[in-house]
Protein backbone atom coordinates (compact mmCIF):
# COMPACT_ATOMS: atom_id res chain seq x y z
CA UNK A 1 0.00 0.00 0.00
CA UNK A 2 1.57 3.28 -1.03
CA UNK A 3 1.45 6.06 1.56
CA UNK A 4 -0.49 9.16 0.52
CA UNK A 5 1.14 11.55 -1.92
CA UNK A 6 2.64 14.75 -0.57
CA UNK A 7 1.93 18.16 -2.06
CA UNK A 8 5.01 20.19 -2.86
CA UNK A 9 5.63 23.61 -4.32
CA UNK A 10 9.05 24.48 -5.67
CA UNK A 11 10.80 26.96 -7.91
CA UNK A 12 12.93 25.60 -10.73
CA UNK A 13 14.85 27.95 -13.00
CA UNK A 14 12.66 30.81 -11.85
CA UNK A 15 9.32 29.06 -12.49
CA UNK A 16 7.03 27.80 -9.74
CA UNK A 17 5.68 24.26 -9.92
CA UNK A 18 3.05 22.50 -7.77
CA UNK A 19 3.02 18.75 -7.73
CA UNK A 20 1.80 15.79 -5.71
CA UNK A 21 4.49 13.13 -5.24
CA UNK A 22 5.17 9.83 -3.56
CA UNK A 23 7.60 10.38 -0.68
CA UNK A 24 10.14 8.04 -2.27
CA UNK A 25 10.36 9.93 -5.55
CA UNK A 26 13.88 11.30 -6.03
CA UNK A 27 14.29 14.95 -6.93
CA UNK A 28 16.19 13.85 -10.07
CA UNK A 29 13.15 11.87 -11.18
CA UNK A 30 10.78 14.74 -10.40
CA UNK A 31 12.89 17.06 -12.54
CA UNK A 32 13.18 14.60 -15.39
CA UNK A 33 9.80 12.86 -15.47
CA UNK A 34 7.37 15.32 -13.88
CA UNK A 35 8.88 18.59 -15.07
CA UNK A 36 10.40 17.23 -18.29
CA UNK A 37 13.71 18.95 -17.52
CA UNK A 38 15.84 16.12 -18.82
CA UNK A 39 19.14 18.01 -18.78
CA UNK A 40 19.80 16.59 -15.33
CA UNK A 41 21.02 13.02 -15.75
CA UNK A 42 20.95 9.95 -13.51
CA UNK A 43 23.83 7.52 -13.78
CA UNK A 44 25.14 5.99 -10.56
CA UNK A 45 22.15 6.88 -8.36
CA UNK A 46 24.37 7.00 -5.30
CA UNK A 47 26.05 10.37 -5.43
CA UNK A 48 29.51 9.56 -6.74
CA UNK A 49 29.36 10.38 -10.45
CA UNK A 50 27.98 13.92 -10.37
CA UNK A 51 25.76 13.63 -13.46
CA UNK A 52 22.71 14.64 -11.40
CA UNK A 53 24.23 17.80 -9.90
CA UNK A 54 21.87 20.76 -9.57
CA UNK A 55 21.75 23.91 -7.47
CA UNK A 56 19.50 23.65 -4.39
CA UNK A 57 18.99 26.88 -2.44
CA UNK A 58 22.16 28.37 -3.92
CA UNK A 59 24.45 25.41 -3.34
CA UNK A 60 25.17 22.47 -5.62
CA UNK A 61 23.64 19.18 -4.53
CA UNK A 62 23.14 15.68 -5.87
CA UNK A 63 19.54 15.45 -7.05
CA UNK A 64 19.73 11.62 -6.89
CA UNK A 65 20.29 11.95 -3.13
CA UNK A 66 17.40 14.33 -2.49
CA UNK A 67 13.77 13.35 -2.26
CA UNK A 68 11.29 15.45 -4.21
CA UNK A 69 9.40 16.09 -0.96
CA UNK A 70 12.53 17.71 0.45
CA UNK A 71 12.36 20.29 -2.36
CA UNK A 72 9.11 21.80 -1.08
CA UNK A 73 9.82 25.52 -0.77
CA UNK A 74 13.23 25.19 -2.39
CA UNK A 75 14.80 27.25 -5.15
CA UNK A 76 16.39 24.97 -7.71
CA UNK A 77 18.50 25.70 -10.75
CA UNK A 78 19.21 22.99 -13.30
CA UNK A 79 21.50 23.09 -16.33
CA UNK A 80 18.58 24.43 -18.37
CA UNK A 81 18.54 27.44 -16.06
CA UNK A 82 22.15 28.46 -16.56
CA UNK A 83 21.56 30.28 -19.81
CA UNK A 84 17.78 29.99 -20.09
CA UNK A 85 16.88 31.31 -23.54
CA UNK A 86 19.94 33.49 -23.67
CA UNK A 87 23.42 32.93 -25.10
CA UNK A 88 25.76 30.29 -23.68
CA UNK A 89 27.26 31.23 -20.35
CA UNK A 90 31.05 31.65 -20.19
CA UNK A 91 31.37 28.16 -18.71
CA UNK A 92 29.24 26.63 -21.46
CA UNK A 93 31.08 28.63 -24.12
CA UNK A 94 34.41 27.44 -22.74
CA UNK A 95 33.30 23.78 -22.77
CA UNK A 96 32.20 24.21 -26.36
CA UNK A 97 35.44 25.92 -27.45
CA UNK A 98 37.67 23.45 -25.59
CA UNK A 99 35.93 20.33 -26.95
CA UNK A 100 35.28 19.35 -23.35
CA UNK A 101 32.40 17.04 -24.16
CA UNK A 102 31.87 14.05 -26.42
CA UNK A 103 28.68 12.20 -25.60
CA UNK A 104 27.62 15.02 -23.29
CA UNK A 105 26.11 12.81 -20.60
CA UNK A 106 28.32 14.09 -17.79
CA UNK A 107 28.34 17.65 -19.07
CA UNK A 108 25.34 19.13 -17.24
CA UNK A 109 26.79 17.96 -13.94
CA UNK A 110 30.18 19.46 -14.79
CA UNK A 111 28.58 22.75 -15.80
CA UNK A 112 26.76 23.05 -12.47
CA UNK A 113 29.89 22.14 -10.49
CA UNK A 114 32.24 24.38 -12.48
CA UNK A 115 29.88 27.37 -12.49
CA UNK A 116 29.74 27.32 -8.69
CA UNK A 117 33.48 26.63 -8.37
CA UNK A 118 34.50 29.61 -10.49
CA UNK A 119 32.14 31.88 -8.62
CA UNK A 120 33.97 30.95 -5.42
CA UNK A 121 37.47 30.71 -6.89
CA UNK A 122 37.76 32.95 -9.96
CA UNK A 123 41.49 32.35 -10.50
CA UNK A 124 42.14 28.72 -9.66
CA UNK A 125 45.38 26.83 -10.01
CA UNK A 126 45.58 23.65 -12.09
CA UNK A 127 45.57 21.62 -8.90
CA UNK A 128 42.52 23.43 -7.54
CA UNK A 129 40.67 22.83 -10.80
CA UNK A 130 41.37 19.09 -10.70
CA UNK A 131 40.28 18.91 -7.08
CA UNK A 132 37.10 20.81 -7.86
CA UNK A 133 36.03 18.48 -10.65
CA UNK A 134 37.02 15.30 -8.77
CA UNK A 135 33.37 14.71 -7.93
CA UNK A 136 32.27 14.50 -11.57
CA UNK A 137 33.07 11.44 -13.66
CA UNK A 138 33.50 11.43 -17.46
CA UNK A 139 33.91 8.23 -19.45
CA UNK A 140 34.65 9.86 -22.79
CA UNK A 141 37.13 12.71 -22.66
CA UNK A 142 39.91 11.73 -20.29
CA UNK A 143 39.39 15.09 -18.53
CA UNK A 144 42.20 17.07 -20.16
CA UNK A 145 39.85 19.21 -22.23
CA UNK A 146 37.55 19.65 -19.27
CA UNK A 147 40.41 21.10 -17.25
CA UNK A 148 41.27 23.35 -20.22
CA UNK A 149 37.62 24.42 -20.37
CA UNK A 150 37.63 25.44 -16.71
CA UNK A 151 40.73 27.57 -17.28
CA UNK A 152 39.18 29.08 -20.40
CA UNK A 153 35.93 29.76 -18.55
CA UNK A 154 37.83 31.59 -15.82
CA UNK A 155 39.43 33.72 -18.50
CA UNK A 156 36.10 34.45 -20.19
CA UNK A 157 34.48 35.37 -16.89
CA UNK A 158 37.31 37.74 -16.07
CA UNK A 159 36.89 39.40 -19.46
CA UNK A 160 33.10 39.46 -19.21
CA UNK A 161 32.74 41.09 -15.82
CA UNK A 162 29.93 41.93 -15.11
CA UNK A 163 27.37 39.67 -16.77
CA UNK A 164 28.49 36.11 -16.08
CA UNK A 165 25.76 33.63 -15.20
CA UNK A 166 26.01 31.62 -11.98
CA UNK A 167 23.61 29.19 -10.21
CA UNK A 168 21.04 31.09 -8.20
CA UNK A 169 20.67 33.74 -10.86
CA UNK A 170 18.29 32.66 -13.60
CA UNK A 171 18.25 34.43 -16.93
CA UNK A 172 15.11 36.42 -17.48
CA UNK A 173 13.38 34.53 -20.28
Amino acid sequence: MSPPKVKICLTVNGRTYKRSVEPRMLLADLLRHELRLTGTHVACAHGVCGACTISFDDRTARSCLLLAVQADGARIVTVEGLAGDGPLTPVQQAFHESHALQCGFCTPGFLMTVTEFLERNPSPSEHEIKDAIAGNLCRCTGYLNIVKAVRRAAELIRRNQPGSSVPGQTSEA
Partner: protein, 290 residues
Protein backbone atom coordinates in the same frame (compact mmCIF):
# COMPACT_ATOMS: atom_id res chain seq x y z
CA UNK B 1 11.31 4.38 -8.39
CA UNK B 2 14.68 3.54 -6.93
CA UNK B 3 13.85 3.66 -3.22
CA UNK B 4 11.38 1.17 -1.73
CA UNK B 5 8.04 2.43 -0.40
CA UNK B 6 8.19 4.22 2.94
CA UNK B 7 6.08 6.60 4.97
CA UNK B 8 7.54 10.05 5.39
CA UNK B 9 7.38 12.59 8.16
CA UNK B 10 9.29 15.85 8.55
CA UNK B 11 9.15 16.94 12.20
CA UNK B 12 9.97 20.50 13.20
CA UNK B 13 11.39 19.93 16.66
CA UNK B 14 13.39 17.58 18.83
CA UNK B 15 10.24 16.62 20.74
CA UNK B 16 8.35 15.70 17.59
CA UNK B 17 11.33 13.73 16.30
CA UNK B 18 11.75 11.73 19.49
CA UNK B 19 8.02 11.04 19.69
CA UNK B 20 8.15 9.56 16.18
CA UNK B 21 11.25 7.51 17.00
CA UNK B 22 9.60 6.20 20.15
CA UNK B 23 6.38 5.37 18.31
CA UNK B 24 7.99 3.62 15.36
CA UNK B 25 10.94 2.01 17.13
CA UNK B 26 13.19 0.05 14.79
CA UNK B 27 10.87 0.73 11.87
CA UNK B 28 11.81 4.41 11.82
CA UNK B 29 15.02 5.74 10.29
CA UNK B 30 16.36 9.26 10.62
CA UNK B 31 17.28 11.17 7.45
CA UNK B 32 19.91 13.85 8.01
CA UNK B 33 22.06 14.94 5.03
CA UNK B 34 21.09 11.88 3.03
CA UNK B 35 24.50 11.44 1.44
CA UNK B 36 24.92 8.03 3.06
CA UNK B 37 21.32 6.94 3.69
CA UNK B 38 19.75 7.80 0.33
CA UNK B 39 22.28 5.62 -1.53
CA UNK B 40 21.18 2.76 0.74
CA UNK B 41 17.55 3.55 -0.07
CA UNK B 42 18.34 3.70 -3.79
CA UNK B 43 20.01 0.30 -3.59
CA UNK B 44 17.09 -0.90 -1.44
CA UNK B 45 19.61 -2.02 1.17
CA UNK B 46 17.65 0.05 3.69
CA UNK B 47 13.89 -0.45 3.88
CA UNK B 48 12.57 1.68 6.73
CA UNK B 49 8.82 1.73 7.28
CA UNK B 50 9.09 5.40 8.18
CA UNK B 51 11.64 7.98 7.11
CA UNK B 52 12.01 10.79 9.63
CA UNK B 53 13.43 13.79 7.79
CA UNK B 54 15.30 16.18 10.10
CA UNK B 55 15.78 18.85 7.46
CA UNK B 56 12.80 20.91 8.70
CA UNK B 57 14.15 21.11 12.27
CA UNK B 58 15.58 24.60 11.94
CA UNK B 59 17.32 24.72 15.31
CA UNK B 60 19.39 21.59 14.68
CA UNK B 61 22.06 23.32 12.61
CA UNK B 62 24.07 25.10 15.31
CA UNK B 63 27.78 25.44 15.88
CA UNK B 64 29.21 27.31 18.84
CA UNK B 65 32.04 27.52 21.34
CA UNK B 66 31.01 26.45 24.82
CA UNK B 67 33.07 25.61 27.89
CA UNK B 68 36.19 24.51 26.07
CA UNK B 69 34.42 22.62 23.30
CA UNK B 70 33.22 23.28 19.79
CA UNK B 71 29.59 22.18 20.09
CA UNK B 72 27.89 21.01 16.91
CA UNK B 73 24.20 20.28 16.38
CA UNK B 74 22.82 17.19 14.64
CA UNK B 75 22.07 18.88 11.32
CA UNK B 76 25.10 21.14 11.00
CA UNK B 77 26.29 20.73 7.42
CA UNK B 78 29.84 19.55 6.82
CA UNK B 79 30.40 22.58 4.52
CA UNK B 80 29.37 24.98 7.27
CA UNK B 81 31.66 23.30 9.78
CA UNK B 82 34.52 23.34 7.26
CA UNK B 83 34.08 27.06 6.59
CA UNK B 84 33.58 27.98 10.23
CA UNK B 85 36.20 30.28 11.73
CA UNK B 86 35.52 28.66 15.11
CA UNK B 87 36.31 25.19 13.81
CA UNK B 88 39.41 26.33 11.95
CA UNK B 89 40.81 28.11 14.97
CA UNK B 90 39.79 25.79 17.80
CA UNK B 91 39.58 22.40 16.12
CA UNK B 92 41.96 22.45 13.17
CA UNK B 93 42.15 18.65 12.94
CA UNK B 94 38.40 18.58 12.36
CA UNK B 95 38.62 21.43 9.83
CA UNK B 96 41.31 19.59 7.86
CA UNK B 97 39.54 16.22 7.95
CA UNK B 98 36.35 17.80 6.65
CA UNK B 99 38.09 18.80 3.42
CA UNK B 100 38.61 15.11 2.67
CA UNK B 101 34.96 14.16 3.03
CA UNK B 102 33.66 13.55 -0.47
CA UNK B 103 33.79 16.91 -2.15
CA UNK B 104 32.02 20.27 -1.79
CA UNK B 105 28.71 19.24 -3.35
CA UNK B 106 28.41 16.32 -0.93
CA UNK B 107 29.39 18.53 2.01
CA UNK B 108 26.62 21.02 1.19
CA UNK B 109 24.08 18.42 2.33
CA UNK B 110 26.05 15.93 4.43
CA UNK B 111 26.02 16.60 8.17
CA UNK B 112 28.63 16.16 10.89
CA UNK B 113 26.17 14.25 13.07
CA UNK B 114 24.99 12.07 10.21
CA UNK B 115 28.49 10.94 9.31
CA UNK B 116 29.13 9.95 12.93
CA UNK B 117 25.80 8.13 13.25
CA UNK B 118 26.40 6.27 9.98
CA UNK B 119 29.74 4.96 11.29
CA UNK B 120 31.31 3.85 8.04
CA UNK B 121 34.69 2.30 8.94
CA UNK B 122 36.33 4.31 6.14
CA UNK B 123 34.86 7.65 7.21
CA UNK B 124 36.95 10.54 8.47
CA UNK B 125 34.81 11.97 11.26
CA UNK B 126 34.60 8.87 13.47
CA UNK B 127 38.42 8.70 13.52
CA UNK B 128 38.67 12.42 14.27
CA UNK B 129 36.06 12.14 17.02
CA UNK B 130 38.06 9.34 18.63
CA UNK B 131 41.40 11.10 18.19
CA UNK B 132 40.07 14.24 19.86
CA UNK B 133 38.06 12.50 22.55
CA UNK B 134 34.81 14.09 21.41
CA UNK B 135 31.64 13.71 23.47
CA UNK B 136 28.70 12.26 21.59
CA UNK B 137 25.31 13.19 23.04
CA UNK B 138 22.29 10.99 22.40
CA UNK B 139 18.70 11.93 23.16
CA UNK B 140 15.68 9.79 23.90
CA UNK B 141 12.17 10.88 24.90
CA UNK B 142 13.11 10.51 28.57
CA UNK B 143 16.48 12.21 28.56
CA UNK B 144 20.03 12.46 27.25
CA UNK B 145 23.24 10.54 27.69
CA UNK B 146 26.83 11.21 26.74
CA UNK B 147 29.17 8.62 25.22
CA UNK B 148 32.86 8.50 24.42
CA UNK B 149 33.69 7.61 20.82
CA UNK B 150 35.06 4.31 22.06
CA UNK B 151 31.64 3.44 23.51
CA UNK B 152 29.71 4.96 20.61
CA UNK B 153 31.37 3.18 17.66
CA UNK B 154 30.47 -0.49 17.95
CA UNK B 155 31.06 -2.02 14.51
CA UNK B 156 30.88 -1.30 10.80
CA UNK B 157 27.76 0.87 10.36
CA UNK B 158 26.73 0.06 13.93
CA UNK B 159 26.69 2.53 16.81
CA UNK B 160 25.41 2.51 20.36
CA UNK B 161 22.29 4.48 19.35
CA UNK B 162 19.33 2.58 20.80
CA UNK B 163 15.77 2.26 19.55
CA UNK B 164 13.95 5.53 20.06
CA UNK B 165 17.21 7.45 20.32
CA UNK B 166 18.99 9.94 18.08
CA UNK B 167 22.36 11.66 18.03
CA UNK B 168 21.58 15.21 19.09
CA UNK B 169 24.96 16.85 19.58
CA UNK B 170 28.70 16.33 19.36
CA UNK B 171 31.26 18.26 21.38
CA UNK B 172 34.85 18.48 20.17
CA UNK B 173 37.43 19.65 22.74
CA UNK B 174 39.28 22.78 21.62
CA UNK B 175 42.96 22.55 20.89
CA UNK B 176 45.25 23.44 23.76
CA UNK B 177 48.63 25.10 23.73
CA UNK B 178 51.22 22.78 22.17
CA UNK B 179 48.68 20.67 20.25
CA UNK B 180 49.86 19.77 16.78
CA UNK B 181 47.74 17.84 14.34
CA UNK B 182 47.80 16.02 11.03
CA UNK B 183 45.19 14.31 8.91
CA UNK B 184 46.27 12.03 6.08
CA UNK B 185 44.31 9.62 3.96
CA UNK B 186 44.67 7.76 0.70
CA UNK B 187 42.04 6.73 -1.84
CA UNK B 188 41.69 6.29 -5.55
CA UNK B 189 40.38 9.85 -5.89
CA UNK B 190 40.39 12.58 -3.29
CA UNK B 191 36.65 12.65 -3.60
CA UNK B 192 36.23 8.91 -2.98
CA UNK B 193 35.84 6.99 0.24
CA UNK B 194 39.35 6.54 1.63
CA UNK B 195 41.11 3.18 1.58
CA UNK B 196 42.78 4.16 4.85
CA UNK B 197 43.75 7.24 6.82
CA UNK B 198 45.17 8.55 10.07
CA UNK B 199 43.90 11.33 12.32
CA UNK B 200 46.61 12.50 14.69
CA UNK B 201 46.98 15.06 17.45
CA UNK B 202 50.10 15.27 19.61
CA UNK B 203 50.73 17.73 22.43
CA UNK B 204 54.34 18.86 22.40
CA UNK B 205 55.84 20.66 25.41
CA UNK B 206 58.20 23.62 25.10
CA UNK B 207 61.30 21.44 25.31
CA UNK B 208 60.09 19.12 22.57
CA UNK B 209 58.71 16.37 24.81
CA UNK B 210 55.48 14.74 23.67
CA UNK B 211 53.05 14.93 26.56
CA UNK B 212 50.09 13.32 24.88
CA UNK B 213 49.69 11.42 21.61
CA UNK B 214 46.43 10.47 19.98
CA UNK B 215 46.49 8.64 16.66
CA UNK B 216 43.42 6.92 15.23
CA UNK B 217 43.15 5.02 11.96
CA UNK B 218 40.23 4.86 9.57
CA UNK B 219 40.09 1.80 7.37
CA UNK B 220 42.05 -0.10 10.01
CA UNK B 221 39.15 -2.21 11.17
CA UNK B 222 35.38 -2.24 11.45
CA UNK B 223 35.47 0.91 13.60
CA UNK B 224 37.97 3.74 14.16
CA UNK B 225 41.11 2.09 15.50
CA UNK B 226 43.43 3.65 18.03
CA UNK B 227 47.12 3.13 17.19
CA UNK B 228 48.03 2.37 20.79
CA UNK B 229 51.55 1.08 20.05
CA UNK B 230 52.38 4.22 18.13
CA UNK B 231 51.03 6.39 20.94
CA UNK B 232 53.01 4.44 23.55
CA UNK B 233 56.20 4.85 21.52
CA UNK B 234 55.73 8.62 21.40
CA UNK B 235 54.38 9.69 24.77
CA UNK B 236 57.02 10.96 27.15
CA UNK B 237 59.70 10.97 24.45
CA UNK B 238 61.47 13.96 23.02
CA UNK B 239 60.87 14.57 19.33
CA UNK B 240 64.61 14.37 18.61
CA UNK B 241 64.68 10.83 19.98
CA UNK B 242 61.75 9.52 17.98
CA UNK B 243 62.46 7.21 15.05
CA UNK B 244 59.42 7.96 12.92
CA UNK B 245 59.83 4.89 10.68
CA UNK B 246 60.16 2.51 13.62
CA UNK B 247 57.28 4.11 15.51
CA UNK B 248 55.03 3.94 12.45
CA UNK B 249 55.82 0.25 11.91
CA UNK B 250 54.82 -0.47 15.49
CA UNK B 251 51.28 0.40 14.46
CA UNK B 252 51.00 -2.70 12.24
CA UNK B 253 49.85 -4.75 15.22
CA UNK B 254 47.23 -2.24 16.29
CA UNK B 255 45.06 -2.63 13.22
CA UNK B 256 43.02 -5.44 11.71
CA UNK B 257 41.92 -4.01 8.39
CA UNK B 258 39.27 -5.58 6.19
CA UNK B 259 39.86 -6.90 2.68
CA UNK B 260 37.48 -5.70 0.00
CA UNK B 261 37.31 -4.81 -3.69
CA UNK B 262 39.45 -1.72 -3.11
CA UNK B 263 42.33 -3.29 -1.19
CA UNK B 264 43.46 -6.35 0.73
CA UNK B 265 44.02 -6.34 4.45
CA UNK B 266 47.80 -6.48 3.93
CA UNK B 267 47.69 -3.52 1.57
CA UNK B 268 45.75 -1.48 4.12
CA UNK B 269 48.18 -2.48 6.85
CA UNK B 270 51.16 -1.33 4.76
CA UNK B 271 49.31 1.80 3.72
CA UNK B 272 48.56 2.67 7.32
CA UNK B 273 52.24 2.41 8.24
CA UNK B 274 53.05 4.82 5.43
CA UNK B 275 50.25 7.20 6.38
CA UNK B 276 51.31 7.12 10.02
CA UNK B 277 54.83 8.08 8.92
CA UNK B 278 53.44 10.95 6.87
CA UNK B 279 51.31 12.17 9.73
CA UNK B 280 54.27 12.10 12.12
CA UNK B 281 56.53 13.88 9.63
CA UNK B 282 53.90 16.59 9.28
CA UNK B 283 53.62 16.96 13.05
CA UNK B 284 57.27 16.76 13.98
CA UNK B 285 58.64 18.54 10.94
CA UNK B 286 62.41 18.57 10.77
CA UNK B 287 62.88 18.05 14.47
CA UNK B 288 62.67 14.26 14.29
CA UNK B 289 64.86 11.57 12.81
CA UNK B 290 63.30 9.73 9.89
Amino acid sequence: MKPPIFEYRAPHSQEETLALLTEYGDEGRVLAGGQSLVPLLNFRMARPALLIDLNRCTDFGYLRLEEGSVVIGPMTRQADAENSGLVREHCPLLAEALTYMGHPTIRHRGTVGGSLAHADPGAELPAVAMALGAEIILAKADGRRSLTPDAFFVDSLVTAIETGEMLCEVRFPVRRHGDRHAFVESGVRRADLAIAGVAAQIRVGPSGTCDKASLVALGGGTRPTRLTSVEAAIEGRNIADIDIGGVARAGREDVDPPSDLQATSEYRRDLLVLLTQRALKKIFGEEAET
